[in-house]
Symmetry: C2
Subunit: 144 residues, 2 copies
DNA sequence: CTTAATTAAGATAAGTTTATCCTAATTAAA
DNA sequence: TTTAATTAGGATAAACTTATCTTAATTAAG
């Protein structure tokens, strides 16, 4: 469903959110160790999230990644997914037609749209804070 | 969402179903022309569908691909998707965790499961006949 | 100011998916 | 039985995704 790149965008974001809530910056090294992902590749994805102003980076000694505490609750999963995979996950024909729309639909158009819209709604209504809280209470996990 | 391979499995199947209803066998050449797909690659996918006994092939002169008329209505989209992409589209963690389940869920587990199940249900409840009929009436399209 | 720690970024490599090409195997028809 | 048409399948190539490595740029601390 999501690309690896997207997975390496979402999982670190949750981890950074959790730590930022506790006032701690984290490094790519710590992140990839905690979420079990390839470090350099994950760092690349983090760069993209920084460019899209979803997370902050602080360079130099004692630097690392963080998210402004008061923004954590307002960052939606959809922002992360769009920053990495683009909007094609919401649009784009299920059967790969270049030009598929209401007036020229593929055979799966309507049924597919329903599901895609639910995915979209889910991503738009899920924020980093709730995900970070579940991690903290040990209800959910970011690795294995 | 689906791989290209899967798209080249579904679209030809609908085209073959439509033609088989009308008693006509079709060749990979005709198929790829009608659905606008790379011929050799599409033919490879068709081979897989033949091996999975979803479509029939007749070798030699005047051969081609067809589907038994009385089976068209009972072939579900899920069979085609599974034959090509496997079942991972229904299982597999949304965030890429190797071992994600009810007892050890990722932060998106529940929300993701809902959507995946709807996709699964949709594929299991959509058969080739209804899709072929929509094509025939010109309500839906297989290319551009 | 210098140093050490750290993110940014470009180059490259490995792996996977997508696509093409060529030859073998099969078969209906003449 | 020969031929022409056709699917099957292996080998190869191209494109894209994933992953790694190396160097540059930045910055806090001493």
């Amino acid at each position: 469903m999501f690309s690896k790149a997207c997975e390496y965008g979402i999982r670190p974001s949750i981890f950074i959110a959790k730590n930022s809530r506790e006032g701690r910056r984290v490094s790519p090294k710590e992140i990839s160790a905690e979420i079990n992902s390839p470090q350099a590749f994950t760092a690349k994805i983090l760069q993209a999230l920084v460019r899209n102003q979803i997370i902050n980076s602080v360079k130099g000694a004692y630097g690392g990644f963080e998210i402004n505490k008061d923004e954590i609750a307002s960052i939606k999963l959809s922002q992360i997914v769009e920053a990495i995979d683009g909007k094609k996950i919401y649009s784009g024909c299920g059967l790969g037609l270049e030009k598929c729309n209401e007036n020229h639909p593929c055979p799966l158009h309507d049924k597919f749209k329903l599901i895609r819209n639910e995915l979209k709604t889910m991503l738009e209504n899920t924020n980093l804070e709730e995900l970070a809280l579940d991690i903290k209470t040990g209800m959910t996990f970011l690795k294995t």
